[in-house]
Symmetry: C2
Subunit: 505 residues, 2 copies
């Protein structure tokens, strides 16, 4: 039996945590999840809201332990990790609210009626759970995108059992979070098998291949996502794969914005690409800055902030070596110059110096626009709008696109909005893309390769990934889900084409 070890990224020292999950055990967990699916759905929305709130409570009650464990395994630091736990707890409670509100079911009733095609039957539609979901934890969010994260709570809210593949970067944190969740499940008497966890790469592969698994949620690299997609393509039954994969997150600063607040933008930019050691999916990886004095001021302010920055510790050895490789390659590219490098890293562990590069926008190549996970960004200097638009058009799509402009730049901002919207799932104005609020209107997704589907993985609509529509035709009332009976009136429903919302107190 292979042992799963955790590594302290500050020192590189390892500690044994648990055993790799055997393929037999993976199969047992997937079977148990399939067996739990019916009872879990039958327990109803109210029960699932209670479970999610219990999970939130149990996570909150273990805050100190979880944050300390996660900090030891990820070096992310207690401030961000406390914020991440708060967000994770908030997220679980928000999905409980989504269940209470009930719109997500898309309950729709068409009563029998005459149509131009003849008499129409009584049709009633509802979204139902898709079945057991495999969730792959992310390296960079040991809580919010991992064991108790958004994929897990949205899949549970939808009514699906979940088996999580713990990320190798934080096995002890995964165990601590899982323990909180199973305690909550026992406390509310959830069906056995609703929650499972596996450790190890082979176990993750076996999980995705298992016929009881009906969808996969994944946040990670393009390469890792592709490997799981290859496994899915060999299944008898293909299943949806929701991958959040790769993102450059371009930022555009107009000449007027640079002139008005170049220094402030430069400083804030340095903060945005070095926060969490630059290991955020929404890190600004490319910043378009106008040529000239105002742009120079912006670049100088960013360079000064980077020069003053210490050497943050990366999450693991793979990211550490990948950062070294990609940042060296970028630094050596034709026409690239180094604007600033942060404090020298210590000898041990996975610390690296933040790096700020510059390149003329006209010289941008696919090498320069490769995603680099870690504290590096590239400032691309542009001469005019044509050059800027041409450069943006050649970029891969991203999760986000950001515009810094001044009031009154209506035509410029409208143009940039259209160009960036075609390449991103979220367009920001006069802000920074890091920081993704969990809310009703959020989108964390975008055209390929940002994600591979038309869905968000953050925010309330993430639940839609784990549901499928079913229509009942001329069903006797007892055979209908409660939400589709005529007498049910506590959730929004579409009845004979008209959206009917319950009276709100």
């Amino acid at each position: 039996m292979t042992t799963i070890a955790g590594t302290d990224p500050r020192t590189g020292m390892t500690t044994d945590i648990t055993d790799e999950t055997t393929t037999d055990e993976v199969a047992r967990l997937a079977r148990a999840a399939a067996a739990a699916a019916g009872p879990f759905e039958a327990a109803g929305r109210g029960f699932r809201a209670t479970l999610l709130r219990a999970i939130a409570d149990e996570l909150e009650s273990r805050r100190d332990l979880i944050v300390a464990t996660a900090d030891r395994e990820t070096a992310i630091g207690p401030t961000r990790l406390n914020g991440e736990l708060t967000r994770t707890v908030y997220q679980a409670r928000l999905f409980a609210d989504v269940l209470d509100e009930g719109s997500y079911l898309e309950a729709t009733i068409d009563h029998a009626t005459d149509t131009p095609m003849g008499p129409g039957p009584d049709l009633r539609r509802l979204l139902v759970p898709i079945g057991p979901v495999a969730v792959f934890g992310a390296s960079n969010f040991p809580l919010a995108f991992s064991v108790p994260g958004g994929d897990t709570v949205s899949a549970l809210a939808a009514g699906n059992p979940v088996v999580v593949k713990a990320h190798s970067s934080h096995p002890a944190t995964s165990l601590a979070a899982f323990e909180a969740m199973t305690t909550a499940a026992r406390r509310v008497d959830a069906p056995e098998g609703v929650l499972g966890i596996v450790f190890g790469q082979a176990a993750g592969a076996a999980l995705v291949a298992d016929p009881h698994i009906k969808a996969v949620g994944f946040t990670g690299s393009l390469g890792g996502g592709q490997a799981l997609l290859d496994i899915i393509s060999r299944r008898d039954e293909p299943i949806p794969f929701y991958g959040e994969l790769s993102s450059l997150n371009p930022v555009v600063v107009t000449a007027e914005a640079a002139a008005a607040r170049g220094e402030a933008i430069g400083t804030a930019l340095a903060e945005s690409f070095t926060v969490s050691a630059g290991q955020l999916c929404t890190k600004p990886g490319l910043v378009f800055v106008p040529r000239g004095d105002a742009g120079d001021t912006l670049a100088a302010a960013a360079a000064a902030a980077v020069g003053d920055a210490g050497a943050p510790v990366l999450l693991n050895e793979r990211i550490f070596s990948s950062f070294g490789e990609i940042s060296s390659r970028a630094e050596g590219l034709n026409a690239v110059s180094v604007l600033a490098r942060g404090g020298a890293p210590t000898e041990e562990g996975f610390a690296v110096a933040p790096l700020l590069l510059s390149i003329p926008a006209a010289e941008l190549t696919t090498r320069a626009t490769e995603e680099c996970f870690g504290p590096m960004t590239i400032i691309a200097r542009y001469d005019n709008t044509d050059e800027l638009h041409t450069a943006i058009a050649a970029l891969p799509s991203s999760l986000t696109g950001t515009i810094h402009a001044e009031d009154g730049e209506i035509e410029r901002v409208s143009e940039l909005t259209a160009i960036l919207r075609a390449k991103a799932g979220r367009v920001l104005y006069n802000g920074y893309p890091t920081g993704v609020l969990v809310s009703w209107a959020q989108t964390h997704g975008g055209p390929w390769p940002a994600t591979n589907t038309l869905h968000t993985s953050v925010g309330t609509t993430a639940i839609r990934r784990f549901l499928r529509p079913v229509t009942w035709q001329n069903a006797p009332e007892f055979a209908l889900p409660a939400e589709l009976r005529d007498s049910y009136d506590t959730i929004p429903r579409r009845i004979d084409g008209r959206l009917v919302v319950p009276t709100q107190s």
Copy 2:
């Protein structure tokens, strides 16, 4: 240049219709579609509703020509084809209503507010068009699932240009319908490139591979769908493929229903599996009937109706030879007996005799549950509930599952509902699965291999396949789509978590 010919299935005689589309022309059409995408979206929902209603009007005004042409190419007969044109026109108008109503945009506004994670930004979310869509016409619905069909009008409604691949079974019908659509587009002054059509298998393959195409809608065989999926897997950018692929549509008759109305069920069943020559995705391909006298009566009534039936003409040579192959194979299976065979076919053309087979439920194999496109069905006789449930559990998933039961069979019907719902996208009671109403609550889809995605291809929610979410963060009002501005109040929107519906007149 290769010529595309139409075939009269009643005689097998061919007529030259048009030329196969060259790959250069496919590329030109895809580029034109991409160029039209921006202007078409910018023209707005009201414009697109007008376009859809104009398409409906133009189709209606060519009714006699289109029905006559389609009948010559498909032998479906004027009654069904007139009904299909009515449905196609209704469908286009219903999507215009969907645009007017506006819920499909999922407009969501979260105003800036304090959150447990700190100050939250202003976030506004809307579904936007995905980009040019390729639609593959189906053999069996030359109108409702082809050039002017559900995939086309839902993609147009969403705001996407469409390039249709005409089905080889009905090129002249495709041209006539396309002519109606382009006349409508010119009449309302739609952007050039919003509609395109290609002919020939190589042109279809080139279309799916073209980088300007952002989604594919397909109704057809599992093999045909797999071939297109293989092309998509070789693209740089993967795109969604919406395939409606294969369906057995099991029907279950309880002992009580057989006793109460076995004869009526048997007669109606024969009608349901022979209508449109059995070439419907929702044809009941397997019928569970209890052993004993009541079941015998049902089977005898079905057999009598089939024996009296003439020999319907199939759509084309491929379906004709495939029906011969699969029905002979089924007839030769162990434990299968022939209950009835319809009238002998004529010597020329693609006519076949309807076929009713019987098998003990315990002897069902994957060979017997293979989809057979054409007028054949199998009655599976069962002894008890256990045998029935075991047999259903082993079936592939379908578009539909049907239950015939008597009032008061509450436990039995509840059990069957649960079992069939796991295997289907629509569950019917005391009816027949053929006939799919276009409406708000319809689902025409189901777990693999019925469809390969979590969406319907019939009904108003089919529009969701061709949209992706975008969120604007702290956007100035002028940069927002009209539907996301604070002052806009004529569509349902979710504002700060609360669904707000406009006052209805």
